[in-house]
């Protein structure tokens, strides 16, 4: 083979490798959230059943479940599955500190969050449903007595609700934990 032939071969190989590399790169980035074996949901799922309230262990050096958790914040979660009907999510916030209730899709984005400022008599209450369930529920609404429900549409059938409670002092952490334990997730009968 001549030197020139060898060079043009090498150039062709390099060019194809770069093009293929770019494709592989993009495909990898786009596919990762969908194969999701290490995301938050995948880490939480083995801890308990759907609808069960599970308190997360206090963040610390020996707790390697979820990174970037705040050691000042207690959290509890429950997984929801909308296949059997909408899910009622409630939490009771007894203290005055910061607390929040957030709703996460299976792929990991937050689709809604409310803080203790939105609580009514210390209670945070919401109904998570699919777009189809919302239509069915809304069709039965009484126009004279509008529903007081906070209805939140989830784009994924599975996901989880997380309650966070801030402890103002290290000694108050157990009280923050007690608040997060009040989380309740309950599947309601599907609307007909």
């Amino acid at each position: 083979m001549t030197e020139r032939g060898w060079l043009s071969d090498a150039a062709a190989i390099a060019l194809s490798a770069i093009l293929l590399g770019a494709l592989v790169h993009l495909a990898t980035i786009l596919v990762i959230p969908h194969v999701a074996t290490r995301d938050a949901y995948a880490r939480l799922a083995p801890l308990g059943a759907v609808n069960a309230t599970i308190l997360l262990e206090r963040p610390g050096p020996t707790n390697r479940l979820l990174p970037y958790e705040d050691p000042a914040v207690a959290s509890a979660f429950c997984r929801f599955d909308l296949r059997n009907g909408p899910v009622r999510v409630k939490a009771r916030i007894a203290r005055s500190g910061f607390a929040s209730l957030s709703f996460h899709t299976r792929p990991g984005s937050v689709f809604y969050a409310l803080t203790d400022k939105a609580s009514v008599h210390g209670q945070l209450d919401a109904l998570v449903l699919t777009a189809a369930q919302l239509r069915a529920v809304a069709a039965r609404d009484n126009e004279d007595e509008p529903s007081q429900d906070l209805r939140i549409v989830s784009s994924s059938l599975e996901g989880f609700a997380l309650v966070r409670a801030f402890s103002e002092q290290p000694s108050l952490y157990p009280e923050a934990e007690r608040d997060t334990r009040s989380l309740v997730c309950l599947t309601e009968p599907p609307p007909k």
């Binding site: 060898w6 194809s16 990898t28 980035i29 979820l66 990174p67 792929p107 402890s167």
Partner: protein
């Protein structure tokens, strides 16, 4: 060199290149959607459904549960005010103010986002437990050795990062508009 050899060479090189560059881009934490404010970085859209594919893939891999915009913002610093990498052998002073928030916390984490073991068992400070000057300014000494006042221990000698969380902050939605001087400065005080 025959055609088959060339094609397989190009394929192999392309695969390696694509996977390597995808991995590298995820490890370099945040190419898009990252605001740099002084030494601090923040991804205000990290938790939202419209986060870019790199941010979403990065979240999947880390397993972090992001804060929703309405809950607060998480800032991270790997460098000091002059852009030098944070070094566990050195002493830093962090202060004196933060943007407005109902509560905030400052904590030390390792490269993966977990608290670092230290004999004092202190992994962070809350805004509600700090010693402050008469005018409300605060100073937190970040160092491996015991410091007077607010001491945040680094623990083992390894690379570390500082995490600042603002809870219930009016600036949440406008991260692009944060003045670097509103965030705590990270000043290198000395290396033994």
């Amino acid at each position: 060199m025959n055609g088959l050899t060339k094609a397989s060479l190009a394929t192999a090189a392309g695969l390696v290149l694509g996977l390597w560059s995808a991995e590298a881009s995820l490890n370099s934490e945040g190419i898009f959607d990252v605001e740099r404010i002084g030494a601090w970085r923040v991804s205000p859209r990290a938790g939202t459904p419209d986060a870019d594919p790199y941010t979403r893939a990065g979240l999947e891999r880390s397993g972090e549960i992001p804060l929703a915009l309405g809950e607060g913002l998480r800032f991270i610093a790997h460098v000091d005010d002059k852009g030098r990498a944070l070094d566990a052998a050195c002493r830093y002073q962090v202060g004196v103010r933060t943007p407005p928030a109902r509560y905030w916390t400052l904590s030390v984490v390792d490269r993966k986002g977990f608290p670092i073991e230290n004999p004092a068992q202190r992994y962070g400070f809350r805004s509600s437990e700090l010693l402050r000057a008469a005018n409300g300014d605060f100073r937190i000494a970040v160092a491996a050795a015991v410091q007077p006042g607010n001491w945040l221990p680094i623990g083992r000698r390894q690379s570390f990062a500082l995490v600042l969380r603002l809870y219930d902050s009016p600036i949440s939605a406008t991260a692009g508009g944060i003045n670097p001087r509103a965030l705590p400065s990270i000043i290198l005080e000395g290396c033994p």
